[in-house]
């Protein structure tokens, strides 16, 4: 049996296992090989990890790359433990059947441990991300009914056509002092002079605030916000 064809058959068995179609003979072959070369650092082990990774990516899952070194040290730790093999050694000597069974067991338990670790790694990733998803700091502690700023601009929120909205939104909104009765928003027709004045003082103020300097770019952003678009 040439080395090339042996390797090829192993690879075929491996993909069969990935697809859940491996028969018992193929599984036996893989286990035997992994036992011989060491599943974590052998060619077979690497190929297995690559297949797993590829499959995960194809399914669009988040992938936490499994550290081969970690896997290696774990299997080393397991190898140090008194194994089922040694417990069964006496009987295994008698029957070749028994040894086959022990070979069955060992890699399986390794596989189970490796799976658990991979699990923990994936979980770790999710746990790290979770606080960020929830994390509106202010909302969390002080706000019974927070009104967070909407992250995506929604044209639907405005009643007027988009073009108008843009023009209006950068202009200051008037809330006059003389409020009558229950209607708080008295419609005042702003004169162009008034709007010009308000825009001017807001821009001037933001430029001054920028000089105080503790807020970085924010006052500049405010000042630029009200800039007249170039005609």
């Amino acid at each position: 049996m040439s080395h090339g064809s042996h390797q090829q058959r192993l690879n075929e068995s491996l993909s069969a296992l990935m697809d859940g179609e491996a028969n018992e003979l193929e599984i036996q072959r893989l286990l035997k090989e992994s036992d011989a070369s060491g599943a974590s650092d052998g060619e077979l082990g690497h190929r297995w990890s690559r297949y797993q990774l590829a499959a995960s990516v194809m399914r669009g899952e988040k992938v936490a790359p499994v550290d081969m070194g970690l896997a290696a040290s774990i299997s080393a730790a397991i190898a140090d433990e008194p194994s089922l093999e040694s417990a069964q050694q006496a009987s295994a000597n008698d029957a070749g059947n028994g040894q086959a069974r022990s070979r069955w067991w060992r890699p399986l338990s390794r596989g189970a441990v490796a799976a658990t670790v991979a699990f923990a790694a994936i979980l770790g990733v999710q746990q790290m991300q979770a606080p960020q998803v929830q994390g509106d700091l202010v909302a969390e502690v002080e706000a019974p009914q927070p009104q967070p700023v909407t992250t995506n601009p929604q044209p639907g929120r405005f009643l007027t056509p988009t073009l108008n909205t843009r023009a209006v939104s950068t202009a200051p909104q008037l809330v006059p002092e003389q409020r009558v009765g229950p209607a708080p928003q008295v419609q005042v027709v702003p004169t162009p002079e008034l709007m010009r004045h308000l825009n001017r003082v807001m821009v001037e103020h933001s430029e001054q605030a920028a000089r105080i300097g503790s807020q970085g770019m924010v006052p500049h952003a405010r000042a630029t916000y009200g800039e007249r678009p170039s005609e």
């Binding site: 002080e142 706000a143 601009p153 200051p172 002092e177 605030a209 503790s214 952003a221």
Partner: protein
């Protein structure tokens, strides 16, 4: 079914069983940690680990002192970074339900800060600002370029706000420390600033009204800290004029004709400037600011509020010697405070 399918399917279904799984898995993790140590364990290493757990027992006072020291260091780094770093980036800027994206460039030229801001959404707006910092300093102006840079400035800020470190988060692919400035009274807004761990630059800042309402959020999406070229500081929109203009005039110290009968505690006058039709007075508590405009504006009888984003303007007028002056108080301060300030403007004697 293969093992990997099991591994990847379970997390979506049952979170609690996952947790149990993690708990089961963690002893394994420890075992793995210890395994190599056992192999080559030297007797000296074991006692080493014990004293490391001692910090738990530091008294409360000391811990508070450490915390405030930590915020002081963070604030000082922030002030440094804001004034001295060159960077460019993309930013989202949100307020009251609308969001815009903008491009920001910050450079240092001849000891001055040069900023270019260009809106990428909405109507095209762009601005290049050159702060005449050096000029102002040499002309003896009282402008504190960054109030946080001096120890006194820091102390002022801390008497107006309580600073808390709220944790960490990642912004623009960078690790940041989340700092909250909680106002000590109702005359100013709070802020939550995510400070870049590496540079001290504010990567995200939110302005917070009472009850935790977010008024405004400014947040980097992408940040590049390589030196800025001259071209990047030039306006992209042809009609944009650099607003350097009358820097010298702006820095000139003017005797104020007006004063405030009342100002919210902690707000100190930081500048007075002459306008073509009046004067403007700038006040700051070290973090936020408001500006009082007193101008002779014919035909301007509006009395009330105007709001744009987080900025409020309150307009009123006063009559002095038969002449009517329009008073406008503008700032990122609560409406009521702006109104109180506007009513407190009187002529200085």
């Amino acid at each position: 079914m293969t093992m990997e399918k099991l591994i990847f399917r379970i997390p979506r279904k049952a979170n609690s069983s996952l947790l149990a799984f993690l708990l089961l898995a963690s002893p394994l993790g420890f075992a793995q940690d210890n395994a190599p140590a056992d192999d080559q364990s030297t007797p000296q290493e074991a006692p080493h680990q014990v004293p490391q757990q001692a910090p738990e027992e530091i008294p409360q006072d000391a811990r508070d002192a450490t915390a405030s020291e930590a915020t002081r260091v963070l604030l000082a780094r922030l002030a440094q970074a804001v004034a001295n770093l060159e960077y460019r980036g993309l930013v989202t800027f949100e307020h009251v339900g609308s969001m815009e994206t903008l491009e920001v460039v910050h450079g240092i030229r001849d000891g001055e800060q040069v900023e270019r801001i260009r809106y990428l959404t909405g109507s095209p707006r762009e601005k290049v600002t050159r702060s005449g910092d050096e000029q102002c300093r040499s002309s003896g102006s009282v402008f504190p370029r960054s109030g946080l840079l001096s120890a006194a400035g820091l102390q002022t800020v801390q008497s107006n706000y309580a600073f808390l470190i709220r944790g960490e988060e990642r912004v623009a692919d960078r690790e940041a420390i989340v700092l909250e400035a909680r106002p000590r009274d109702l005359h100013r807004f709070g802020m939550v600033i995510s400070v870049d761990k590496e540079t001290g630059l504010p990567l995200k800042s939110m302005l917070i009204a009472p009850a935790g309402r977010v008024l405004e959020r400014f947040q980097f999406v992408e940040l590049d800290l390589t030196p800025v070229t001259d071209d990047e500081l030039k306006p992209q929109t042809p009609s944009t004029e650099p607003s350097t203009g009358d820097e010298a005039a702006k820095c000139a110290t003017v005797e104020s004709r007006w004063r405030l009968g009342w100002a919210p505690s902690g707000f100190k006058p930081v500048a007075v400037q002459a306008l073509s039709d009046g004067q403007m007075l700038v006040f700051s508590d070290g973090l936020s600011a408001f500006t009082v405009f007193v101008q002779q504006l014919p035909e301007m009888n509006y009395k009330g509020r105007a709001v744009r984003g987080a900025t409020v303007a309150y307009m009123d007028h006063i009559d002095v010697n038969g002449a009517r002056y329009t008073v406008t108080v503008v700032g990122e301060i609560p409406d009521n405070t702006a109104q109180l300030v506007a009513k407190a403007v009187t002529e200085a004697n």
